[in-house]
Amino acid sequence: MSSLAQEVALGKSLAAGLWCIGQIAIEPQENGRFALNHREDAGRNDLIAHTQPEKAAEIARFDDAGKYRPLKTAPNLRRGWRLVLESVAELRVALDLFYPGRLDVFVAWENNALSATPLRETLARQTGMYRVAAKIGEEEANTLVGNFCASDGGCLRTIMWRRDENGTTPSTLLPAEKFDPRYDQTGLGETVIPLLCQEACNLLVAEARKSVQGQDRRGQ
């Protein structure tokens, strides 16, 4: 099978010195191998080693307390593991399970092919039980995004979308670096492959729905 464009792009990113993604450190090994671990586990020699790229899905599924992680870019990746992979192809599969979809979005951004969707457009598109989410007020949306998407405890993605088509900032409660792809959202200050967010996730849409429903109930 030929090398896919994404694998080539990943190889280039590594060659350019981007050895971190989210909470993961990627370490080059001999014979084209890579070793991955939690960035805060650097130097530990008691890590449990794995070799299957698909193991990443299992590692990413629960946090250290055993709680399910519905948002894989939340800053609560489990620690204590080490994943040794044979090739860039395996690395790509593993990273896609740790941070699903982020690599493709990053490659699209690097190729100037990433289009971001404003939050209002995402909400207006919803049908069924999520249709009501579009009713969220400006102030409520500002607060919701400010809390839900914050890198400190919320989500490590770099927000690329705006709140509306006029370019309103997603939330005035978030610092400017939350929108800067060069910034390491973990706060560790390293050069990273950013976890770019081109459109509000379903979890945020669900929270917007809850916010509207809560307000409706309060208004009754």
């Binding site: 464009a5 994404q6 519905p70 896609d96 699903p100 493709d104 092919a113 069924g128 081109q198 979890l203």
Partner: protein, 267 residues
């Protein structure tokens, strides 16, 4: 036609924000298909998990990939396959051309495939290997009408097909939320053996907790045999956890080409 150099596969699942097992079968099927090397690339996307369907719009940007087979890992056609998936993936019909040269082919959901009847029968045999079919009632559990989809209709069709084979003493549809209720299994059946197969894509809260509670077996208990009220009750895992679903996904991709020759030429 599927080519390992220029065809990609996108499996679309529902996923869940609360149930860690919801996406597991879809990911496992993707891993198995990837291992077989049939497609140049294999990816998943989910309605309620990552990557989202919107993320998938940025997949398969390799210029060598000329076609993307989109297979919904859903038990039936309905709200998700008709409204949510086309909307989120910006599909304009059975075939959608992207970037000038790439065609996204929207395939039927796995539950529609003709092999589903055999998969259900196989599941029933696996969970109750020693049970004589003539002395066994087979219950196919569907969700019911809570969701705006056709899963109940699809489950009914499967029961009719299995019943027509005349192998089991009885073949019945049961539902969690509408009659005939799964909780009435004792009244609904008169055989020594009763086999229960959930017609779901994954082992979620329904099949771990709700259905066992309705059957009267311990919540979260192991699948397999339970002796209750003088009967042998065999409870299977959800049909979608069957590893053979990987074959069904591939078959649904192949079926697109055999059923829609006009669209192929348009690509």
């Amino acid at each position: 036609m599927i080519s390992r150099s220029c065809s990609a596969l996108l499996i679309v699942g529902h996923g869940s924000t609360v149930n860690p097992d919801s996406s597991a079968p879809t990911l496992a099927h993707a891993a198995e298909i990837r291992r077989r090397g049939i497609f140049a690339d294999v990816a998943c996307c989910f309605w309620k998990e990552e990557p989202s369907l919107r993320d998938a719009l940025f997949f398969f940007r390799d210029p060598g990939i000329r076609e993307v087979y989109v297979v919904p890992n859903f038990i039936s056609e309905g709200y998700f396959t008709r409204t949510v998936i086309p909307r989120e993936l910006e599909l304009t019909g059975a075939g959608t051309t992207r970037h000038g040269v790439q065609v996204w082919k929207y395939c039927d959901p796995v539950g529609n495939h003709e092999s589903m009847t055999e998969r259900l029968l196989q599941r029933a045999r696996e969970v109750a290997p020693g049970a004589a079919e003539a002395e066994t009632s087979l219950l196919i559990v569907g969700h019911g009408t809570e969701l705006n989809d056709n899963s109940a209709v699809a489950a009914k069709e499967q029961v009719e097909k299995i019943r027509a084979l005349d192998r089991y003493a009885a073949v019945l549809n049961v539902y969690m939320e509408e009659p005939p209720l799964v909780s009435d299994w004792l009244k609904l059946t008169g055989t020594k053996n009763v086999v229960v197969v959930p017609f779901f894509i994954s082992d979620g809260l329904h099949s771990y907790e709700d259905i066992p509670a309705l059957l009267g077996i311990e919540s979260g208990s192991d699948r397999g045999r339970h002796e209750l009220h003088g009967r042998s009750l065999f409870y299977s895992t959800a049909i979608g956890t069957d590893p053979k679903f990987a074959d069904v996904i591939i078959e649904q991709a192949k079926a697109f080409d055999s059923r829609k020759p006009v669209l192929q030429s348009a690509s």
